[in-house]
Symmetry: C2
Subunit: 204 residues, 2 copies
């Protein structure tokens, strides 16, 4: 139609629906839109539009916005909704332990994988920190504290985030021994009670 | 003397003893030598030699190797020996609180200052992580656990490091609210008991 298409911008409409290139296009678009608009502001529609694919493809490939975020920004293919269900499935007093076990189950098999890159990205770009805040505090952790019905839910969520970040830093990035190589049960016994206190204990 | 001095390498011998340029030369040399040899391997003599100044200048300007490390690598002008004394000055059951208050007293007034840069450096360079490990775990935190006479001192030290790192990340780098702006007493009440458990409590 346009006799002189702009060579610098790839043609996005007409992409094969449902293929691996659709998935890749959604990941690339998601990274851009999440950083531009924050987690809350980045709608599935806007990301799909940027990728030039149908919004239904987000559910098809990632199970929804949270899964797309996890894979695009956290770079971990984890089903966030299923994760939250696992965390909430059991007695409230065991949630600290379930958090540690699920965290290690995601990151240990890939030896931390992109954890260092994620932390580096956060320290370099204010927008990435803002996106993570929107996701972790407002979405993931808020669902936990809402479920638990505790006061000071946002403070508890940020305290939880501080210990989880720090655990990831020591285990996968700076690799301080013996915590970096400690077996899962040792880490659970050491850290889970502290997470539990942040979520359901007395904060003074 | 040499009729054709190499323009690309600054002349280091003959630097004015005791001046600000001596201090700057020591800082630059320390960054190199700590990264090359690790915290333990970097001697005061080797750093002073690299800087082309007398080793006594390290004591003069930084109170010793630890103070030089703090200013060169952590980029915080803090007297580590005096800090350790403050942390150990009081009942053992108050050490968690003293750690939080002293950490915030260093970093809050400069709003985190170089904390993000330090974290970024750690995530980019394995050697920096190794230097930090040598300093924090082997030196600073070991002095605390040795003083407390607790078993599993190194595990406790790394657990402590995980929560302190995470607190710094949330308060100064990703700035998750409300923890990022919470007043000191709120942070102390929330986090100090968890640090205390890591240092003197039952880890399972």
């Amino acid at each position: 139609m346009n006799p002189s298409p702009r060579q610098t911008e790839p043609k996005r409409r007409g992409r094969r629906a449902g293929g691996e290139d659709t998935k890749a296009a959604l990941l690339a678009a998601a990274r851009e839109v999440f950083v531009e608009r924050g987690y809350e502001g980045a709608t599935v529609r806007s990301i799909a539009g940027r990728a030039g694919v149908d919004a239904a493809m987000v559910n098809h490939w990632f199970g929804g916005k949270e899964g797309l975020f996890a894979e695009a920004v956290l770079q971990v293919p984890v089903d966030i909704n299923a994760l939250v269900e696992r965390l909430l499935d059991g007695p409230d007093e065991g949630i600290g332990e379930r958090i540690v076990r699920n965290f290690l189950a995601v990151w240990d098999p890939i030896d931390g994988g992109p954890f260092a890159a994620m932390v580096r990205s956060v320290t370099s770009h204010d927008q990435v920190a803002e996106v993570l805040r929107g996701f972790f505090v407002q979405t993931l952790l808020k669902r936990l504290t809402t479920h638990l019905g505790v006061a000071d839910g946002e403070l508890r969520a940020t305290l939880l985030a501080s210990q989880i970040f720090g655990m990831g830093m020591v285990r996968y990035v700076v690799r301080f021994e013996p915590l970096a190589s400690a077996d899962v049960d040792t880490v659970v016994k050491a850290i889970a009670p502290n997470l539990q206190r942040y979520l359901t204990g007395d904060l003074g």
